[in-house]
């Protein structure tokens, strides 16, 4: 593209919405003499069928290489015009919609002269962009209709169950011998108050009744992962055998580990100081001794080293406190906390019920933590009550330390295998706000406590959601890379490297938020190479490339330069 006088322009009056402010005749005059503009028409409403047909028929002109439409914003009808034209066989790459309504006539309604000048500028910029748009690269992906689920905890099992119900073959891998994850360690699950067997049985039945729809590999170890969205190759060992499978999507549901207190509050050298999970073990074995129990919250968390709230510990402690009261209604149960975190109506009720049953809450301050006293056995806990501002000594038979969930020790290795980022606490990083299960690697989803500590209920929901995301990806049939990304509501321009000019400096590799750029040796020299499936067209690479050898063909430096020129030229 970029031939002289090859752009056809159409201006939309929008039934006066545009032409009432902007003098379209003047705009037309100015544009007609603009280099690159082959013809210009003013229509009433480009978004209506009749005008659309005119547009489509005009473009059959073999010499016209692009269309520039002066109309409304992309978010109004601009995008729809493009889509409609695409249905008529006109590639969206050749259509530029310039917003002269929202971006001009409506916001400059009091300044018709200035608005007209601006409209001319904007259209000239559109012409410049269209003239310097090159055909973008494209690659097609045929997704493998199988999904890999890493981890058979509540999130992983739910994901697998949901997928298998949709007829997708699932590979479920877990390092433990039996499925269930952390739930296996717990007697009853809060706030639903069911056992773990009950909790997951239905889903497990779905999975194991699927006639091979799910391949379950217990006690397995991940070895490597290659490929990208739609086609990953993953190898792992299970028992003595090694497997290599191809899948279209990956769900990481590895959960989290329970932090051990590491000597805090004399855990380990004083009989009767337990962690929450050790208490669960006693519940399961039915060996609870003593009826004076003190829970200490926020152990090893919400401090400088782990500045986060693990989100589930309060509910767990409340559950356990009530369980103590179930065993011995006369028991004296204290919960020493810094704040009780029970958001939502269900959990709030849970908190109030515990209070109603006589669990006593006492707030301590972070810089004055409770002290556990005793010689061999726990004797009492000394604590500064932040509400009454006095020291209290509470007699205790058991002290339960409520420790948080923390990232698994091998989270780093898994992150590396799949190319995921981890947040500052070590959990897998997901995209923000609107895409909570997606990672920077297209086709890899994270759910459950692997992404952030959650209760079983949330883990299940997230697992199901992740399954839907994976299903959506692999069930779309053949996909264009430029439409693959989660974010690609519109078509994106994928980065392209001019290998002759590339110096191999690696700036693009360092900045690419998707790890789409990598350096490869070509004829003895390192050259940047773009993985088109990973690329999302953000352009980070373009702006750090020292000599412009990487470009977004649809939005090149040349195009931006010409747009700037178009702005400057007017009136001079």
């Amino acid at each position: 593209m970029g031939n002289d006088r090859s752009i056809r322009c159409f201006l939309c009056r929008c039934h006066g919405e545009i032409s009432r402010v902007i003098d379209l005749d003047e705009v037309a005059r100015a544009l007609k003499s603009h280099p690159g503009v082959r013809s210009l028409d003013v229509r009433n409403s480009l978004c209506l069928e009749e005008d659309m047909d005119v547009l489509a028929s005009r473009v059959e002109d073999p010499d016209a290489t692009g269309l520039v439409l002066g109309a409304c914003s992309l978010y109004a009808r601009g995008d729809r015009i493009r889509t409609a034209l695409e249905e008529k066989g006109i590639s969206p790459d050749t259509v530029e919609v310039v917003d002269i309504r929202e971006g001009c006539s409506w916001i400059h309604h009091g300044q018709p002269r200035e608005a007209t000048t601006k409209a001319i500028d904007l259209l000239r910029m559109g012409v410049a962009l269209q003239r310097h748009r090159e055909n973008p690269d494209e690659v097609m992906v045929d997704p493998v209709r199988e999904v890999f689920v890493l981890g058979a905890g509540p999130a992983g099992i739910s994901a697998a169950a949901s997928l298998v119900r949709l007829g997708v073959r699932v590979h479920l891998l877990d390092r433990a011998k039996s499925p269930g994850g952390l739930l296996n360690l717990v007697k009853r699950i809060a706030p639903e108050d069911v056992t773990s067997d009950e909790y997951l049985s239905q889903k497990q039945q779905t999975i194991f009744a699927s006639n091979g729809g799910v391949s379950h590999y217990p006690g397995a170890k991940l070895i490597s992962a290659h490929g990208s969205a739609g086609d990953f190759t993953i190898s792992f060992s299970s028992g003595k055998t090694e497997h290599a499978i191809r899948v279209g999507a990956v769900i990481v549901a590895t959960g989290a580990k329970i932090l051990m207190p590491d000597g805090l509050y004399r855990h380990g050298n004083l009989e009767g100081v337990l962690t929450g999970i050790e208490l669960e073990r006693r519940f399961k074995a039915g060996q609870l001794e003593g009826n004076r129990v003190v829970f200490i919250q926020c152990v090893g968390v919400r401090d400088r080293k782990r500045p986060y709230c693990s989100a589930i510990c309060c509910i767990v402690s409340l559950k356990q406190a009530c369980q103590v009261l179930d065993v011995d209604p006369q028991a004296e149960v204290f919960v020493l906390h810094r704040d009780i975190m029970c958001p939502g109506s269900v959990l709030e009720k849970y908190y109030r019920d515990a209070m109603a049953r006589g669990v006593r809450f006492l707030r301590y301050e972070q810089d004055r933590p409770p002290v556990v006293l005793g010689d061999e056995n726990v004797d009492s806990v000394e604590v500064y009550d932040a509400l009454t501002s006095e020291m209290r000594r509470i007699k205790a038979d058991l002290v339960v330390l409520s420790t948080p969930l923390a990232p698994h020790d091998d989270a780093g290795r898994i992150a590396e295998l799949f190319g995921l980022n981890r947040d500052e606490h070590g959990f897998y990083e997901v995209r923000t706000l609107m895409h909570p299960l997606e990672t920077k690697r297209e086709g890899v989803f994270v759910c459950g406590s692997a992404r952030w500590p959650v209760l079983g209920r949330s883990a299940v929901l997230q697992g199901e959601a992740a399954a839907m995301k994976a299903y959506e990806l692999i069930s779309r049939g053949t996909l264009a890379a430029s439409r693959l990304s989660t974010y690609r509501e519109r078509k994106f321009s994928l980065a392209r490297v001019d290998h002759e000019a590339c110096t191999g400096c690696g700036n693009c590799v360092a900045v690419c938020p998707y790890d789409a750029c990598s350096l490869e040796k070509k004829e003895g020299a390192l050259k940047s190479t773009v993985n088109l499936i990973r690329c999302s067209g953000c352009g980070s690479c373009v702006s750090v490339c020292p000599n412009g050898s990487i470009q977004l063909p649809g939005h090149s430096a040349m195009a931006i330069g010409e747009m700037l020129k178009a702005v400057c030229e007017q009136g001079s």
Partner: protein, 282 residues
Amino acid sequence: MSLREEVLTRVKALLKDRRVDGVLGLSLFEKEPVPCLFEDPFDVDALVIEPKWLLAKLAMNILKTAPQEYRLGLVCRGCDDRAVTELAKRNQLDRNRLTLLGIPCTAEQARKCLCSTPYPREIVAGERVEGMYPMNDEQAQLFLTGSMEERMKRWARELNRCIKCYGCRNVCPICVCIPCKLEDDLWVKRGHIPADMVSYHLIRAFHLSDTCVSCAGCTDTCPVNIPLMLLQVSMRETLKSQYAYEPGLDPERVSPVLTEQEKGEGTLFQEPAWIDSLRGGS
């Protein structure tokens, strides 16, 4: 033993022991210094170490065109050392094939280059002298302070002289791109002097913002005496104060404008003060 003799002994030993195939340094040719690739220990007697002559880029080019197994020694100063580090970070040379023979600059040389680190990380001989803080220099102050209008006038006077010789780019040890953006009509209008020199020098200066090793090569070579290295001073200060980063000092550290966000920054816990440049109250 003088500094020169010590370097000479080292170079001879390196060549004799075949630890390197050649050493790049300066040699006297008809009483004047020129760069020289010493490959024979018997030639080394002609070696000199003055004046300061940037050799990192030459070394890079030698390694790029030499056979893969060729190992090179380089008599270098602080700026060359930093340039080698930056070039290695950007995959322009293989640090394993290069042996550095570092020598310190004199106090006077440091002053001339406004160099804050006038010595390489490792020196084979000689005494280090302390560097200087560029803003303490009178001329630098003249160019870097004052109202916007004064600065504009001062720099206009300087940059307007540019004769577009590309010398600053040619000597810069970090400028390695072929082709170079400065030759591209899109960025710097071709065929005019000094018409587009502002784009030329600002783009060039910014390209080096996180790589400039402050060798002063650009200022030295400029035939019309534009103090080009002063363009870098404020950016270098910013990098130093905001990210504690100085180009060329740490081979492991990636430039902060290329790296992932660091802990705490841009998150709930710490928000950079410059979220919104208007709100910043400037």
